[in-house]
């Protein structure tokens, strides 16, 4: 089954948030973003509503869910367990929308729902029913066809308690809440399609559309229970009584296409200036809020407040840096050339970046990271770090693959890349020579895959390419030709699986069909769909041996441990990861593996490393309030001492610098990596401390954080932070007497940096590290 995110429903109650994606339902803690509960049902939900039962003094939360099933499921709000269901006896069908009506007079609450065929259903929930725990269904109390197909929303008038608003995509109607007779019906204008509505006052309704407009209508007298004309129009022609449109709420300014209609809700605010609120959120990441006045404004109502994710990103300064930005900025252009595909080769410490102009850049990973993260002598050089550019693709590079990294059976020299120019190019990574161009596909290359180990020898020297014209090719790197092209697929390719023992290539398409190809002959063996297709795909998984390499495997395990929330597994994994991390760091040739992990944090760290530099220079730093804050909050001893590791610009300037070319190279990869790790993690910790101090209003040290827990920060995030702190601690403890100040640096005048660089981590640092490592046990 394929998951989709088209059906989402949100409801926010206190500090918890319920989220439904297709058949999954999650309960989130909005304080720290953790998923507290997770359930998966056999059927897909489309709507969800919170409801609080009051049994005597006890209050229990329930969720009512409707969706692609013919009943309403009542779910416990904390355990997400299905308690019972509301079932229809007459014409059971999917429920398209529902509403809960609370009556103050009796203990009974009613659930009013409309089925997809336009039948109104009423269930009564009494105290006994709400106590019921077994799976006996509750049947409906009333069932009446109201001929509202494609119902979008149903809401009850809380002012008069006597009318119901039903919004369908092409019209909206008002019904009497007592006997459900039609009071008025309004058709939509040509292109509009309604998605929901609500009563704003006893005589006003607000209706919103699929493209985010909202309209406020005044109801005719026949719909108002206070009026003498109430119910006077029943049975008469509905067209005569079109209520006047009072005013309109301004449309979105940017007419960009949204993936799905925006979600609009009407709320009654608690405080005066915003008494009646209309809130809208859309798939472009924009949240808008209107305060709905009781008086009639002259023209369309303007938005009271609006914010979008893009605006927030635009405000970000400094902008997060790309890993090879220094090589990608063209003269005369603002934006660097975008990196569109990349692969990291740990065995050579090299990063391969395919770019949107069709070129591929090979750079030493550590050095390019240092350029982005640290200040130092390298800043004086042009075209640093040393790199190689491969030119061959005529447009965007979409995927890069280094097959030797996956399996040693491939030539160590070959690098494979695919682009939107339909071509797959084989490169010699050492000489930069273009070895071969495959032009077999009729569409953009979307994926390059390495076949599993136990394929036939011929296939073992192939890479598998997937293109957007729904074709799959097996391209032999040794023979330099395409040995198979499977191109009969009618739908986009979703998954490639292998049955090496049977010499089969299994292609799963987006429509659920599965094509089985014989790799040797290129013949289509079978094309199946439905349950057989699912079985074939599952069977491939069972047979497949673990081809993933050890590093990514442990990452997967860690992720699993996180999702299962198993403490033991997490601890075990953390232990394991730390050990490998420590050994990697100390072993020279593997030293740079950690950089991949570090690069993900690059933005935070870069920012802070710049700030520390700024603060130490004593200049007014453009970093703003953070830098100012750092002068008040004394940095932890650890950060202070290790902070010297960052080569500050001042030190460089103060020094007469004579031999720039020879300094970085001899110290080598190991040195670079360690320098990078230490300086970035120090500033990272520093920023963490500073943020915590700002948040709590107290002066904190590292041991404070670790000793006393989260300080209101997200628990999930802190676990990650802790892991990084622990890994840093382990690294530092493993490296006694290590120094990162080269010989040439030691000659620098002491007055320039304020204090002499310590030859080894200070005792206070050791102490705080020892504190951290306690957590590990």
């Amino acid at each position: 089954m394929y998951r989709d995110t088209s059906h989402k429903a949100f409801t926010n109650i206190g500090f918890t948030l319920y989220h439904v994606v297709s058949r999954e339902m999650c309960l989130w803690d909005v304080n720290d973003g953790r998923c507290i509960e997770f359930t998966k049902l056999a059927c897909a939900h489309t709507g969800i509503q919170f409801y609080q039962f009051t049994i005597g003094t006890e209050k229990e939360g329930r969720l009512l869910c409707n969706g692609h099933y013919p009943e309403i499921l009542v779910v416990d709000a904390t355990s997400l367990e299905v308690l019972y269901s509301l079932v229809s006896k007459i014409c059971p069908d999917w429920i398209s929308s529902m509403s809960i009506i609370r009556s103050h007079r009796t203990q009974e609450d009613t659930v009013v729902a409309v089925s997809v065929t336009g039948i109104l259903k009423v269930w009564i929930i009494t105290a006994e029913v709400s106590k019921m725990q077994d799976l006996d269904p509750v049947f409906e109390e009333e069932s009446k066809p109201i001929y509202c197909q494609g119902c979008q929303s149903i809401s009850f008038c809380s002012f008069t308690q006597s009318s119901l608003l039903v919004v369908c995509s092409k019209y909206w109607r008002v019904f009497d809440a007592g006997d459900y007779s039609l009071l008025c019906s309004v058709a939509s204008e040509s292109d509009q399609s309604w998605t929901g509505g609500e009563f704003v006052a006893a005589d006003k309704v607000i209706i919103w559309t699929e493209d985010g407009c909202s309209y406020i209508y005044k109801l005719p007298a026949s719909c108002l229970s206070a009026s003498e004309h109430f119910r006077s129009d029943i049975g008469k022609t509905k067209e005569g009584s079109i209520p006047p449109l009072i005013y309109k709420i301004a449309e979105r300014a940017d007419k960009q296409l949204l993936i799905c209609p925006p979600v609009t809700r009407f709320f009654f605010g608690r405080r005066e200036p915003f008494h009646k609120l209309l809130i809208q959120g859309d798939s472009a990441g924009r949240l808008s809020l209107w305060s709905v006045p009781d008086s009639t404004p002259r023209q369309t109502l303007q938005v009271s407040s609006t914010i979008s994710l893009q605006e927030a990103f635009d405000k970000l300064k400094p902008v997060s840096a790309g890993i090879i930005d220094q090589l990608s900025v063209l003269p005369g252009k603002e934006e660097p050339i975008k990196v569109t595909a990349s692969v990291y080769i740990p065995s050579q410490g090299r990063l391969v970046c395919g770019r949107e102009d069709g070129s591929i850049i090979l750079v030493p990973a550590t050095q390019t990271a240092i350029v982005q993260l640290l200040q130092g002598e390298h800043m004086l050089r042009r075209g640093w770090p040393p790199h190689r550019t491969l030119r061959g693709h005529r447009n965007k590079v979409t995927c890069v693959l280094y097959p030797y990294q996956v399996s040693a059976r491939y030539d160590q020299r070959s690098l494979v890349s695919g682009g939107v120019d339909f071509s797959v190019i084989v490169w010699d990574i050492f000489t930069g020579e273009m070895k071969h161009i495959f032009c077999v596909h009729g569409g953009e290359i979307t994926q390059l895959i390495v076949p599993p180990e136990n394929c036939s020898t011929r296939v073992q020297h192939c890479v598998c390419s997937v293109a957007s014209d729904h074709s799959v090719g097996l391209l032999s790197l040794r023979e330099r030709k395409c040995i198979m092209l499977a191109s009969r697929h009618l739908f986009p390719i979703q998954v490639i699986k292998w049955r090496p023992a049977d010499d089969y290539l299994v292609v799963g398409c987006s429509d659920g069909s599965v094509y089985v190809w014989q790799m040797d002959t290129g013949a289509l063996d079978r094309c199946v769909m439905g349950i057989t297709a699912v079985e074939i795909l599952n069977a491939c998984d069972e047979l497949a041996p673990a081809t993933v390499d050890a590093l990514s495997h442990s990452a997967v395990n860690l992720k699993q441990a996180m999702t299962r929330r198993s403490l033991a597994a997490l601890k075990n994994m953390a232990q394991h990861k730390l050990q490998t991390l420590a050994t990697n760091l100390l072993a020279a040739d593997n030293a740079d593996k950690v950089t991949t992990a570090l690069i993900t944090f690059r933005n935070t760290r870069k920012q802070t490393s710049l700030e520390t530099g700024g603060a130490r220079r004593g200049n007014s730093s453009p970093g703003g309030q953070f830098a100012a804050g750092s002068s008040e909050v004394p940095a932890s001893p650890a950060a202070h001492h290790l902070g010297q590791v960052c080569f500050t610009k001042k030190r460089l300037q103060g020094q007469s610098y004579r031999k720039p070319s020879s300094t970085l190279a001899p110290r080598g990869l190991q040195f670079d990596t360690c320098g990078l790790v230490l300086s970035s993690s120090v500033s990272f910790q520093e920023s963490l401390l500073r943020q915590l101090s700002l948040a709590t209003g107290r002066k904190l040290t590292l041991s404070d954080i670790v000793g006393k827990g989260a300080y209101g920060l997200s628990r999930a995030v802190t676990t990650q932070h802790l892991l990084s702190v622990i890994s840093l601690a382990n690294t530092l403890m493993g490296m006694t007497n290590a120094t990162f100040v080269g010989e040439h640096m030691k000659k620098a005048p002491a007055s320039l940096c304020g204090a002499t660089p310590p030859p080894s981590p200070s005792p206070s640092l050791r102490a705080s590290i020892a504190d951290i490592s306690v957590i590990k046990r």
Binding site: M1, Y2, D4, S6, A42, H68, Y69, P70, K89, C91, P92, D93, W94, V116, T117, I119, L135, P145, G150, S169, S190, D191, S193, L257, I259, E356, D357, G358, R394, N395, K396, V420, D421, G442, G443, E444, S468, D469, L490, F491, P492, D511, G512, M529, G530, I531, V534
Partner: protein
């Protein structure tokens, strides 16, 4: 599929795709939408919608489910719409004919069919929201509509092609088991489902495992069809499936609808492919 000459130097060729794309948005898209609507209306008609109050107009269908080779199980099923009304079961081994009627006070229907029908109707609603007068401005807009329609169609088709896999206790407590008069004997379980265009009936004969059995008890997982020897626990009793009888019968109109679904999915995808040719052509700007 449509292929374009990828040449950016001569100006007539640069302008041509623009015109062709406009034609695609103005003419071709609506032609495809019309065709899709026709196909889906035809599919929807097969589901013989029981509109409220018109139940009597539904035609009754009789299905004889049986396998001629073994002949251990024969089943006659009378269906009204997609609610079975009457069922005759004959299991050869026991040489007794079991006759059940579906209880009138409860309604049970093949949910798969109702779900498929609803998905098709939602797809039709999406299509009808964009009639000939609607002017598509961008390819993304067409793709968005196609994605929404295809989602509904894939779901409709999946409902028919992938029957729910259930565990045996789920099956035993399902609504279907309580639907019969006289009630099902305790040592038998029954399951109805649609697989592709076939109506399938499975009868499981059970025997109770004695509490002190030496057999290794391992409850069976969920599956569409369980094999003999599958075990499960229900109300502190352990059961084992001793015999499985499976019979099926082709429902011709279901076959038609599946064909219609496949055709319309392909139409949608082809339209998307046509648009993607243009979008990749324009993405292909020289550096």
């Amino acid at each position: 599929m449509l292929y374009l000459v990828l040449s950016c130097n001569s100006s007539p060729l640069v302008q041509m795709p623009e015109e062709e794309f406009n034609w695609l948005l103005k003419e071709e898209v609506h032609a495809v939408l019309k065709q899709l609507q026709d196909v889906l209306k035809e599919a929807s008609r097969r589901f013989c919608m029981p509109s409220p109050g018109l139940e009597s107009q539904l035609k009754q269908e009789n299905f004889i489910l049986g396998s001629s080779t073994y002949g251990t199980l024969r089943c006659c099923l009378f269906m009204l719409g997609f609610s079975p009304q009457d069922i005759n079961l004959k299991i050869a081994k026991s040489s007794q004919v079991l006759h059940f009627q579906f209880r009138e006070d409860k309604q049970w229907k093949l949910q798969q069919i109702q779900d498929a029908r609803n998905h098709v109707n939602q797809a039709l609603q999406l299509l009808s929201s964009r009639d000939e007068t609607y002017h598509f401005k961008t390819g993304a807009e067409v793709n968005k509509l196609m994605d929404a329609v295809m989602l509904q169609l894939t779901r409709a088709r999946n409902r028919l092609t992938t029957p729910a896999s259930m565990t045996l206790p789920e099956l035993a407590t399902s609504g279907l088991m309580k639907m019969f008069t006289p009630p099902m004997p305790g040592d038998a379980m029954i399951n109805f489902y649609i697989n592709l265009s076939k109506l399938c009936l499975t009868v499981y004969q059970l025997h109770v495992l004695p509490p002190n059995t030496t057999k290794n008890f391992r409850p069976a997982g969920s599956s569409v069809l369980h094999n003999p020897g599958a075990m499960f626990e229900l109300n502190n009793n352990r059961f084992e499936v001793s015999h499985v009888h499976k019979v099926e019968c082709v429902v011709p109109w279901l076959n038609d609808t599946l064909v219609f679904f496949t055709i319309s999915l392909q139409l949608c995808q082809q339209l998307k492919d046509k648009i993607s040719v243009f979008s990749s052509f324009w993405n292909y700007r020289p550096f």
